[in-house]
Amino acid sequence: MAPQPDRGAAEVCVRNRGDGPVTLLGLSETVAVDFYAGRETWWQAAPSVASRFALGKADLVGPWTFWFVLALVGGSWLVAWRALADSGSRT
């Protein structure tokens, strides 16, 4: 099935072609259905994560914020290293 745009309300038929049981989880009025083609790596999922990251937050937050935060966390390691080196040199 080709990727579908977000349509809001939709009718979906589910057929279980596998051996295991299938369970649909959701609220009484809404069920979200996500399709995954096989297993995603974290790296493959990252763009989707970045777009979800921006939803339900302040206007200032966008998908870019996810990458920005990752960069900041990496930067904090470098600054921490600098702090240790700075204080270590005075030991």
Binding site: R52, L55, G56, K57, V61, G75, V79, L84, G88
Partner: protein
Amino acid sequence: MMARLRKTLGAVPRAGWLCVAVALVNGFAWSVITPPFHVPDEISHVAYVQYMAETGDAPRHVAGDYMSPEERQTLEALRFFSIVGQSANRPIWTDSQQTALDRVEAEGPSRLSDGSSSTAVNNPPLFYALQTVPYEVASGGSLLDRLFAMRLLSVLLSALTVLCVFLFLRETFPGSPWAWSTGALAVAFQPLFGFISTGVNNDSGLFLASAFLFLMLARTLRRGLTRRRGVAIGAAVGLGMVTKLTFLAFVPAAAVALLVLLLRARPGRRREAIEAVGLAAAIAALPVLLYLALNELVWDRQVFGALVGSEAVDFQGRAGSLHEEISYIWQLYLPRLPFQADLIGGEALRSLWLNGLIGRFGWLDYGFGTWVYDLAFWIVVALSVLAASTVVRCASTVRDRWLETVVYGLAAIGLLLVIGRLGYSARIGAPYPFEQARYLLPLLPLYAGGLVLAARAVGRRWAATAGALIVVLAATHSLFAQLITIARYYG
């Protein structure tokens, strides 16, 4: 005064400011990663701030909704109540859900609540009054914009906490500059601290007030009691008390420190010591008296709210007993004795406190895999043994500095007892458990000191390297805590 402040801040070593920078950056990351309202009790704390900002009043025990229509509709659009406590459920993921949220924001629901009871209602107002500033600055935006601004203030408070820890360690270990950065960075990267202190929760203010008190106690115990230090200790106690009433736990420790220093003052300095203690007591009492007066005369609240938070619903509690309370407090921190009834439901030391400090996030609805807690247990055991071996090896120094040991010990015991008393009250009177590991975080300066002692166990030559390894461990811990948070909400 400004010149003196500039001089004081100018005396902070560059490494201290770098630690503050790490805390700011890491705190900002936590504040953005954690979805709105998913820091424990954030819905109640935001409601308190909003009510105070919109009315200039404080919430009280009256009937009605403690949340404004704006907050309640925003939470519904965010599907908050179906996500919290349900680790399989995710926040809004689709554009149509975002459109529904945008519609709520565009409709502009009322920002006025009834100002009634929530879990935050008994809290003193200082933290909330401070948070009205970013709330007002962002008042042109949506509630989520204002929440974002409020969290930024919390990030700032958490960075100041780290600065206080750095300065506390500088007083405590003056000859070991590596120790100051090691302890401060270990705190900056502590995941539970990062998660809680960067949300809208008055614990953020409590951590800062506690760290400032520890700093001023250390400075006074090491350098002597002066009027200025008396004022600072009084300010720390007074501001801490009107931030969160559990700060009461530290009052006996501060009082003992001041009284012993007064008794030890040389005759020539006795007058200044008496004035310093008087100033400390007066300045500590001032905000508390102001708070009591506002409660009584302006806000029509309980004069001194109960220490434990109270819901709008009445609980049908049962009568407790002193014997049972003592047994409960014992079991909260120590192994249960054979003759004691099980009041906790298992052992708390590891499952509640240790695992909680390693990390339970959200509204306690997700955490690490079991193997992480098992591994962390042995790391904590190893660090504790190392720290204890340093204490034994430096027994003469510990003896010389007995007053510091007594004061910090009293502070820790005071907090444990207050948590125990509140926990027991909740156990017999409230429909929800009270105990959470975050309540130990006011002891962060001692946690940092303990890690420094562990690093020192390997000897003077390798101590800085051991400290660096501890920081790498803490930073890795923090990174994985942030990754599981991303996986919980967005993965």
